[in-house]
Symmetry: C2
Subunit: 328 residues, 2 copies
Amino acid sequence: MNAISAPDALAALLGADLAAVDAVIHARLTSKAGLIPDLAAYLIDAGGKRVRPMITLAAAHALGGAGDPARKLAAAVEFIHTATLLHDDVVDESALRRGRTSAHRVWGRSASVLVGDFLFARAFNLMVEADDLAVLDVLARASSVIAEGEVLQLSSANDADTSLDHYMQIISAKTAALFAAAARVGAMSVNATPAMAQAFETYGHNVGLAFQLVDDALDYGGASAVMGKNAGDDFREGKITLPVILARETGDAEERAFWRRVMGGGVQEAGDFDRALSILRRRNAITRTLDFARVYVKAARDALADAPDTAWRTALIDLADFVVDRVH
Amino acid sequence: MNAISAPDALAALLGADLAAVDAVIHARLTSKAGLIPDLAAYLIDAGGKRVRPMITLAAAHALGGAGDPARKLAAAVEFIHTATLLHDDVVDESALRRGRTSAHRVWGRSASVLVGDFLFARAFNLMVEADDLAVLDVLARASSVIAEGEVLQLSSANDADTSLDHYMQIISAKTAALFAAAARVGAMSVNATPAMAQAFETYGHNVGLAFQLVDDALDYGGASAVMGKNAGDDFREGKITLPVILARETGDAEERAFWRRVMGGGVQEAGDFDRALSILRRRNAITRTLDFARVYVKAARDALADAPDTAWRTALIDLADFVVDRVH
């Protein structure tokens, strides 16, 4: 590990660009309805790393330089992401987000739903200003894919038999689609060739998949089994993720019965989470989840093989590596 | 009153166009996530009158003819409207919508939030296909204005002192903005002059305001005081609307204290709704609300004064008249 983390290094490299995006974000939160800037800023300023907008900006720089359209698109990407977080927290009834009480617990569910809608609409305002219908098409498609992925996940909740394929389909949609679009529109904003735009999309897609799988692992304590503040959420909500799928696939009948009981929507008992952790350990499920993530990180690196050899490409590759390295 | 209502007459006039829009709507509900078409079709097929998409189509016809872009935009308008209804019902915890159990009571709140997000995103997919950034700008702006209006209304809930101005601001945003955009994009789809596009926008804006005010009146039984199936919802939710504002402005101290108690978020007692009805009658508040609506209907008619004198213009004017006439 470097002394400075890859996202921090990228943020330093982006410098004024990232500050400009933050200025756009805050300017576009202005509203007659004071609840909008209050609630949105509460979440946006809570210390998110701006990974997605940084990918947009870095992709633009890697292929020419980030101009005003790239900054607007980066802000749009962050707005879409924030809208998704607000609605996700309502759906999951999460108590915490970025280490703070989640917005719907502070302002109420209705506020989170409606402010999420506002941010989503505002994202499209920014895209219109970026003035490129092809770019808008990419983010509009990603938006419907994300919503579709969220619905697929909701429909699979408490389905302890969710297959590996189905799960990868869900996270491709709900998580990877926005990373992919973020990278692609950055490239498109500087008129990248179709092949190069595709390469950056592939980079984003794979970083997104790795990011989600590492999150899944962290929800069970990651490799070190040191529990983060939200650890256990997926388990408590009966949300099937890769660690459980991998453990289930290689588990014995008793273990499969356990997963079906605890993830199948029934009552969870005291000690169930500890037992889940012990099964995941026995089946090497966290390690194997991180191995999956590493495959996607490698695919992300490979996707940029033909991109110009600049500090921006290096920073994007370091960012992909960081996604898995942050576990340790 | 005619034997056939204005929306039905307009639907008959639109014929194949409206069927084509319905086909687009149903085609775009297709998804790997079966919950999406199930839930969305439940609401869309429940007998909504498609007033907004009909306005888009009729505006296009009035100025030239509705082509493929107008149909896609009409479908997009209906998708935005449907997404709004789904989220509104979650916010208001409404039990009924279009005479049926509301979707969130059938499929759950989370499903309504996420399917609403999907429909909203899909609306933007359709707009991209209509291939005109200026048109997309109009609907994207309307979308953020609508969300802003919803948030403003949420922030004013249980504020018994909501002013007339503030209320008109809320309904301009949450209701009239989509009617205005629906009419404007119909006109723009056939390359209307800026003045004519503005005329149709003004028409839509005023129809939308009248529409909302009549809805407000109907929630207290309208002129005949015959209660519809959802009557009393606004009252029970403490949602201040024009009838209450008008009654309050001309009421005595005792009545103002009553409104403050029952609309201010406190406990409502048995008999409160009947007392509200009797105060509204005494203060002529329903009649005056409908008078307001008639002013906007007239403004809508006037806006189309310079539009070509066709059956389409007549149908749009009849539709505006119907908005108020439906009360009787």
